[in-house]
Every structure is written in C-alpha cells, then in structure tokens.
Symmetry: C2
Subunit: 383 residues, 2 copies
C-alpha cells in the first residue's frame, strides 16, 4: 500500500537503467489533491547532495505536487553539474505532469561523487509518469532500494483518514537522519504548517534515534505530503500520533534490515537529568564499536557500556550507575551486579537499560551490532 494507501495519491516504480544490474531504480509519487500541502526534514550533514539542496528550496512554499526518487546514484559531491541534473529532473517531471518545477521534490540515493546517467533518468521519468497508479505504492517502494534486502512500507488508518509511507535505508544510519529516503502521504486535510510540526515531532523521536552505524548521510530526506482527499481534518494530537506511528514502524524496519547486522539493540536510558542527557548517553552506547562487537558475540560485556557512558557530559555519578542487559542488572552502583551468566543473549533482540540515577527523563536509541558481514558489505564495493 505504501504511499498510495492514502486517497489522492498515485505512484510508479520502474527500471530506468540507472542501476547497471537492471533492477528498479526510479520512483514517482504524485499528489492529485485537492490539497497539495507538504513538509520535509533533511539531513543535518553540512555536505548536502544536490537533490537535498533542491528539495529544501522548493519545500519553502509548503506545496508539492510530485516527488521523483532514484536509487543507483546519490548525486552528492557532484558540483554545479550535479545540481543542474537535479533541476533537469524536476523540470522533466513538471513538464510531463503539467505543473511547475517548483512543485517537484527530488531524492537520490547511491554512491557519492558520481554523476547520474541523465540519458536514462530523464526518459525514465516519462515512463514512470505513464505508469502512475493508485496501486503503484509498492513498486515505488521497491524502486528506491539500494542495499536494502526488503522494501519498507507502513500504513496507519484512523477514523476516515490514512497516513502511509515508504522508506529505504540500510547502512549509514545515524542521527540527523540515516541514509534514508522516506515519503509519507496522507489524505487528511492538513495545512503545511501542521504537517511540518507533526513531521518534526515524529522524526525527532523515531528516525533521529536510529543510529545503526554512527555514519550520517549526505542525502537523507523525509517528506510528508497531504492531499486532503479524505475531506477530514483530524485534531493535531491525533494526527501527530499517526505520523509518529508510521515513522516509528518504518524506523524499526530500517534497524531490522541494517547492513550485516545480526542483533537489533534497543538502548533505553532512564532516570536522566534531561532528555538531552538521555539521548547523548544512548548514542554513546549505541556507537561503541567494542560493545557492538561484544553483543555480536553474545557477550553481556557491561564494562563497555560503562566506559561508553563515561565519555559523555551527562549528569551522573559513576558509583550510582546501573545497567541491565536483557532484564538482568549486571551492573549495580557502578560495580558488579547480578551474575552475567544469567543473561540470555540467544535472540536477535537485545535490550540494554542504562539507569543514570540522576532524574526522571528517558530516551531510547536503536542500533545494531558490529559484524564481519557489515565489514564485508562495506568494504567489498563502493556504496
């Protein structure tokens, strides 16, 4: 269902020949209205890909009619020519759809530092436009995959209205968004300011807290488009909750499909003095390579959790820290706690609780283990 679950949207996904292996690589999502409100959140990396620079610009109007997405090339670090190519892509979609280029966002994903094959991409936009369908959401989700092993979609339906979406992302998952492209759609009748507020609130506690490998992409983009086709305007809280639910679901799917991972690790920081402290500590734990290796080896090595906490500026006293791994409090008061032999590490899910004993704020960061497969996947080919 994906981006076409909400009324008022059509989509397509095709193989334009951008990927040398002939797999689908071009998606088009169109908002047929009546409303064409939109909001976007982009990578906080200061080295931004051309499509990010373009889409940030067009989003300032709060209006989008279409999104063109390609896999097979990130169009990042490609200079003025790269930006011209993004512009030409938007122009082509606008021409085919009979709208202005300023209503078309562009997203790209793939290898950095390589120009896109425009002789294939531009005809591909025409082909995709000809295949636009209310059932095209799944094909669009498939066309944006890179090293993803599965395509990711999610749908939440409320009283007469729907939020749906698609995502791609596998490696380079980190704060300030991952190497992710996400398009969300809704048929609720919501203006662009509300979309923006709900989207930022949702990504802050979902995609921004997925930190698979600590690496931040140049291309991350999350777009939310509203068609108003359901003719319903939900209350803000209800709408924001639905957007957050779809973002949360897609974020979890990203973690479960992270490159080479064998464990999905939930790092829950509790009793922090501030939410920022909780996030800082969670990230520090989630990014500790030694801990990620230990968890891969099913070793509940809580000393590596403590050494990660110790590198942060969060409020805590070392001799009051407590750590549980899969429900066993292996560290109490900064020292040896329950018997680590009690920790059952056989399953893919790992749950770490870090108790800072410094307040009552909490945050959860999602990450993966570090595996030889991750090394192989990221050393064997340019991505």
């Amino acid at each position: 269902m994906s981006v076409t679950a909400a009324k008022g949207f059509t989509a397509a996904g095709i193989a334009a020949g951008i990927k040398e292996n002939g797999n689908p690589d071009l998606a088009l999502v169109v908002n047929n209205g009546p409303r064409r409100a939109a909001a976007g959140v982009f990578t906080s990396n200061r080295v931004k890909a051309a499509p990010v620079l373009w889409s940030e610009q067009v989003l300032k109007s709060g209006q989008l009619t279409a999104v063109v997405l390609n896999s097979g090339g990130a169009n990042a670090c490609t200079g003025p020519k790269g930006f011209q190519d993004t512009h030409a892509t938007a122009e082509k979609a606008a021409e085919v759809l009979g709208v202005g280029a300023g209503e078309v966002a562009v997203c790209s994903t793939g290898l950095i530092g390589v120009l896109l094959p425009m002789d294939k991409l531009l005809p591909g936009v025409e082909t995709a436009a000809a295949q636009l369908s209310e059932h095209g959401g799944e094909k669009a989700a498939i066309a944006i995959k890179t090293t993803d092993t599965v395509h990711k979609t999610s749908v939440v339906t409320r009283d007469g209205w729907t939020v749906g979406g698609m995502a791609k992302g596998a490696g380079m998952l980190a704060p300030g968004l991952a190497t992710m492209l996400v398009v969300l759609t809704t048929d609720a009748d919501v203006d662009s300011e509300t979309l923006d507020k709900a989207l930022r609130a949702a990504t802050r506690v979902t995609f921004d807290r997925v930190d698979s490998d600590g690496c931040m992409s140049t291309n991350d983009t999350v777009l939310l488009l509203a068609s108003g086709a359901a003719g319903v305007t939900p209350g803000y809280e209800e709408f924001a909750e639905a957007v957050r639910a779809v973002c949360d679901d897609l974020g979890q799917q990203l973690v479960r499909d992270a490159e080479g991972a064998s464990k999905d690790i939930r790092v829950e920081v509790i009793n922090a003095a501030t939410e920022d402290d909780a996030v800082e500590v969670g990230r520090s734990i989630a990014r500790n390579n030694l801990l990620k290796c230990a968890l891969h080896g099913e070793d509940p090595n809580w000393g590596r959790v403590l050494s990660a906490i110790g590198t942060t500026s969060a409020a805590f006293e070392p001799d009051r820290l407590n750590v549980a791994i899969n429900g066993v409090w292996v560290c109490k008061n900064g020292s040896v706690g329950e018997d680590r032999e009690k920790v059952d590490m056989r399953y893919r899910e790992v749950h770490i609780v870090a108790d800072l004993a410094a307040g009552d704020e909490t945050a959860t960061i999602w990450t993966n283990d570090l595996t030889a497969d991750y090394v192989h996947e990221n050393s064997a080919y340019s991505s």
Copy 2:
C-alpha cells in the same frame, strides 16, 4: 631497554598468576633517585578504574618512587573493594621497598568489572621486587601486554641524558588516551612541574591523536618519572622534544599493533581555521566506520570522507573541500577530482589529506581500518 634505559631505574616483569594462561602479568618499575620527580596524565573517561583514582591522588605530590602495573584485570567498576585492592597493592610495594604507599602508583589493564586475585597479586609484588634489575625494562614491557602481539619500547638519548619508555595498548584506542598504559623514565634532572608540562604537551599531539576505534578506556595512564641520575638539566624545549619523540614512537607502535587492523591510516587535516577544527575533522574522519571498511577493502571512497567532514562544526565551505588519498586529489572543490583509479591502496600505510581551505592550521590523527578480524577479536572473548 625500555624504562631502564635511563640511569637510576630498575624494573622487573614476572608471571604472578593473575592471567590464567600463565603469561607474565606483573611489572614493577622503581626510581632509585637521587631525584624522584614524577608527572602523570590519565583517562578523561568519567568512569575511572580504581588504580587511576589512586594514582591521580598520589601524583599530586609530584613524587613517585615506584609503579606497580598488572595485566589480566582492569580493576575498573569494582566498587570500594576494588579501591581497597589498589591501596593494598601500593602498600605491599611500599613495604617491600621501604617507602610510603603515597610514593607508589598503580596501573591495571584487562577486563572491566572483575576483582583482581589479590592472593596472587600481592605475593607477585614481592617476587617482582626481588628481581628488580637495571636490565629489567624489557621484561616489564612484556608483563603489561594484553592483546598486544608485541611489546612496545622506545628510547631517545641526548647529550648525556636519556628518555625511555614502555607501552601497552591494542584495542580501545581513542582520544583522552587509549587503553594504554605507558611508563616513561628519564635520568635528566628535571622537577615535577617541568615533567608535567612536557608530558602534557607531548601526549596532546601524540597519544591523544591516536584514535584506533573511537573507544575510550577507564584505565589509561601515562607516567613520566625522573631520577636525575645523569646529573644534567636540559633546556625545556630540548627536553620536551625528547619526551614527545618517545611518545610519538610509542603511539605509532600502538597503531601498528591495533587489534585486527590491516591498514595504518594517517588523517592529515590542513588549512583549517583553528587547530581544534583540524582535530575535530580528523577525528570525525578517523571514526567513520563506513570509510574504515572501504579503506580495508582498498576502495578510495572519498565520498565517505566528505560525509564525515560534513558532520562537524568546523569552519569550511562544502564546495571548497579537497581530499587526497595516497597523494591523488580524488576530490577537488567538493566534487569529483582526479581519477580514483590512480590511487594505489596496496600497502598497509594509507594517507588521507583533508584540505578545509579555511585557514592555515593543521592536525594529524592516526587510526586503523575496520576489519572482520577486529570484530572477531572483540566478539570472541571478554576484554
């Protein structure tokens, strides 16, 4: 030669039975004077091992007669009992040497969260004291190894005086010092204030810029002891240069012996607005797992260098960044530069130059690649 290259020092290294495999695990270094000045630099991790807390305290006097070092256990996160054990270790050495416990520093390395076998360690201190020798430096260097494949020593001799030292360290190499224990000795006649100044200046640009895996230890300690036995007081600059040379040499040895590494990577940041900017950018590049995997695969993936630079707060313009890998400027003005096929990646040494085009400051960070061997070594056993 190690810590006994300088006159006035004796040392020993023995197998006390702390390590279950029977390998050497206890070292003792003694300053026989006439001067007993000392300085120390410790981990900036806020979760500090008991021996770090102890040694920081005794160093406040600027005087040390002896250092006891053990491998086979870090004595970190071991609560009040762990601190008592460190204290008892210093007391035992003091008793045997006929000095006060406040003149004895203690260093430990190994698994976090496990109490040391004091029934083996304390008799070991007596055994080591009985074997103290002017030729004991190498044995001491061997006894502090953990996953090190070779022991590390360095000696610099100047006009009538010497600085020598030993180091251990393999994984967990990161800023604020690595999982390293380092003892440096000199027979120059230098007071503790000068030792402190020279040691801090040296570690700031050597050990603090070795960032093998981004993980910071709870036990890192670098000590510098002066016996004055040479009867020579060098000028500060001359002395500081010698200390820096020994630290630099030992730091390089740590990088070359990092766990599982197949590449030694020198990240040189040039034309930064400030030295802090250069260090921040260098660390960000050195810690990027995706880049470290690519370099392992001998792929000059400069896009990952740019995406790492983009996550920093350093002064730069994305379209003015230049990156060279092994002498080939693969990225110019933030975009595609020379042909990446020209980059020869066959050797263990990799040299990355990141030109920020924002000033004239520079810094060099040393790191390693990320390999399946690193994952195996750090997931297969608790360390």
